[in-house]
């Protein structure tokens, strides 16, 4: 039981890294809170669903499609919303409200177009035989989802640490004004980071039907809280801290479901509040308290 929970928890943890990563990248680069993150994930799930059920496109191929598609969607969206927001008196606070409004718009349009009901894709699409990891047998849909998440995290790492654009992105993360002063096109770098953030959410969405069971237009709120729990555990503004946060979150979620299942729903909220109060900077991070 215990080793099963921990192994499954690590696989889910990899997936939760992916779920939180885009939110944290956007926060790190722009210091804004994309409260519509869960809704972009939901749109990714719908993309996977329609591409699979209408055109029989395999979810792995969908990953490539949504990556390109959501980066292309995110860049103009950045120029439409963010520069104006960043000029405001308190962009961080207003971003919560702005993107909350945006999440409502996305949810409403999705509900109007496709109805409020939940959907799912059968797990056998990602393989039928259970796979063996660390002596435990897990559904192959989980393993595939966890593996793709790991690859996505790896790609983000390569982008941030091995490319010129990634170096510029990290410069903007450290200090937006200084980056501007050294002649970096901060808006261009941020726009791309925003697009990458949405794409990461959408890729997470592609595997939502397998990891979360089903999905529907109203799933965004829960995903947002879970993503927040994950990135707060790691550290806000540090995408790679999210990996640690995701793994801790995944394992503790599985342990809760195994040993205290009726209270498992409380976990993300309690974890979030406790960590904010005890170590608000997350396990790897700088100070964020105001007073």
């Amino acid at each position: 039981m215990l080793t099963y929970s921990i192994t499954a928890g690590l696989v889910f943890g990899l997936y939760f890294c992916l779920v939180g990563l885009g939110l944290n990248l956007v926060f790190g680069v722009m210091r804004i809170v994309n409260l519509a993150h869960g809704d972009f994930l939901m749109l990714g799930a719908f993309s996977a669903f329609w591409l699979y059920s209408l055109l029989h496109i395999h979810p792995i191929a969908t990953v490539l499609i949504v990556t390109v598609g959501f980066i292309a969607l995110g860049i103009p969206l950045y120029y439409l919303l963010v520069p104006r927001l960043l000029k405001a008196k308190d962009p961080e606070m207003l971003s919560i409200i702005l993107f909350f409004g945006f999440s409502q718009v996305i949810e409403a349009i999705t509900t109007i177009s496709f109805g409020p009901s939940d959907r799912s894709i059968p797990g056998r699409v990602l393989g039928t035989a259970p796979m063996h990891v660390l002596g435990q047998s897990l559904p192959s849909a989980w393993i595939v989802s966890g593996a793709v998440s790991a690859v996505a995290v790896g790609c983000l790492y390569l982008y941030l640490y091995r490319t010129r654009l990634g170096r510029l992105t990290r410069a903007v993360m450290v200090h937006r004004d200084e980056a501007l002063a050294t002649g970096i096109d901060v808006n261009r770098v941020s726009a791309i980071a925003f697009g990458v953030g949405l794409a990461l959410a959408a890729v997470g969405g592609v595997f939502a039907p397998f990891m979360l069971g089903s999905f529907g237009p109203a799933m965004g709120v829960d995903i947002n809280i879970q993503s927040f729990a994950v990135i707060v555990i790691g550290s806000l503004g540090s995408p790679m801290g999210t990996v640690l946060g995701g793994l801790i979150y995944g394992v503790s979620e599985m342990l809760m479901q195994t040993y205290f299942s009726s209270w498992a729903g409380l976990l993300p909220y309690v974890l979030l509040i406790l960590i904010l109060l005890i170590r608000p900077s997350g396990l790897l991070g700088k100070k964020v308290r105001s007073a």
């Binding site: 809170v33 606070m93 702005l98 409403a108 349009i109 927040f228 806000l236 909220y269």
Partner: protein
């Protein structure tokens, strides 16, 4: 009591409370009128904490739900009469406020998210099937023994009057000014001798009390409800949107917001909530981008003193 204080009472409190008292005699849908009361009070509760101290209470509904369940538990288990039950409801909300006071150490977005998480945690506890013997878990409570729409409506009007009075006081008092000084710059405010921690804690507990009172009155008015009814995120969201739309840190703003937007909501029809969700989502976005200080700021920019 200054002349301005009296002017604000005459211009806002008297007409709003007067209308709330007269309308049931002219218009038969009392549930709708009561819902207006609830949102008028909740929007002012958000105003007290967000408008005057800058803390964005995304989980404001937690206090509303705590009030409703405090009332329900006192009526179910202690057989308390409704007015005593309301004291329990108010106490439950204030108690939750006290427990959550440490959240005030967090800034901006962190506070908002932590507050939302706290409200969802409260919902998880109340609706947990393991606590069925205490809270009736997810199956909801039925308090039909104390059902009294007339009396509970009038108690609601009283809560509204008291809330408006409090906000008028904040708008016209040294205490209210000191809160706004904390909101603008806590460090300068504390250097000017403002008790920062005490000020924001008092505002926080007052807003919790307001939400708890109207939450317990709501429980009394409807008498049969489920956890997801009184912990519905819709209460936080609507209250915030209404307050922001009208403009916070005024008395008129949240009132205008509720009358216009909740009026629109009912005109569109609750049967297709997605359309309202689409409209208010878009409204929020336009508001943040083009009119971040609400409708009343249009007048204030022209030098009009909005109550």
């Amino acid at each position: 009591m200054s002349a301005k204080f009296l002017r604000h009472i005459m211009l806002v409190l008297v007409p709003v409370v007067g209308a709330a008292l007269v309308l049931p005699h002219v218009y038969s849908n009392q549930l709708l009128l009561f819902n207006f009361l609830v949102y008028l009070v909740l929007a002012q509760g958000v105003n007290v904490i967000y408008g005057f101290t800058g803390y964005l209470p995304f989980g404001f509904v937690g206090f509303f739900g705590a009030g409703a369940y405090g009332f329900a538990l006192a009526v179910m288990h202690l057989h308390a009469p409704p007015l005593v039950g309301m004291l329990f409801g108010a106490a439950a909300a204030v108690l939750l406020g006290v427990v959550l006071t440490p959240l005030l150490r967090l800034s901006g977005a962190y506070f908002a998210i932590a507050n939302l998480a706290a409200a969802l945690a409260a919902y998880q506890v109340i609706s947990n099937p393991s606590l069925e013997s205490l809270t009736k878990g997810p199956y909801g409570v039925s308090l039909s023994g104390v059902f009294d729409p007339q009396l509970s409506y009038h108690v609601g009007v009283l809560i509204l009057a008291a809330t408006l009075l409090l906000v008028i006081y904040l708008r016209n008092s040294r205490f209210g000014l000191s809160l706004q000084a904390i909101k603008d710059d806590p460090i300068s405010a504390s250097m000017a001798g403002v008790a920062v921690v005490r000020g924001r804690t008092v505002a926080w507990l007052l807003s919790a009390l307001i939400a708890g009172l109207i939450g317990s009155d709501f429980a009394w008015f409807v008498s049969v409800f489920y956890p997801e009814t009184v912990f519905s995120a819709e209460f936080s969201v609507f209250a915030l949107v209404f307050a922001l739309f009208g403009g916070v840190a005024t008395v008129t703003g949240p009132v205008l917001g509720v009358l216009l937007l909740y009026g629109l909501y009912n005109a569109i029809g609750i049967s297709t909530p997605q359309y309202f969700q689409l409209i208010y989502g878009a409204l929020i976005m336009l508001l943040v981008l083009f009119l971040p200080n609400g409708l009343t700021s249009l007048l204030q920019r022209r030098g009009v003193d909005v109550p």
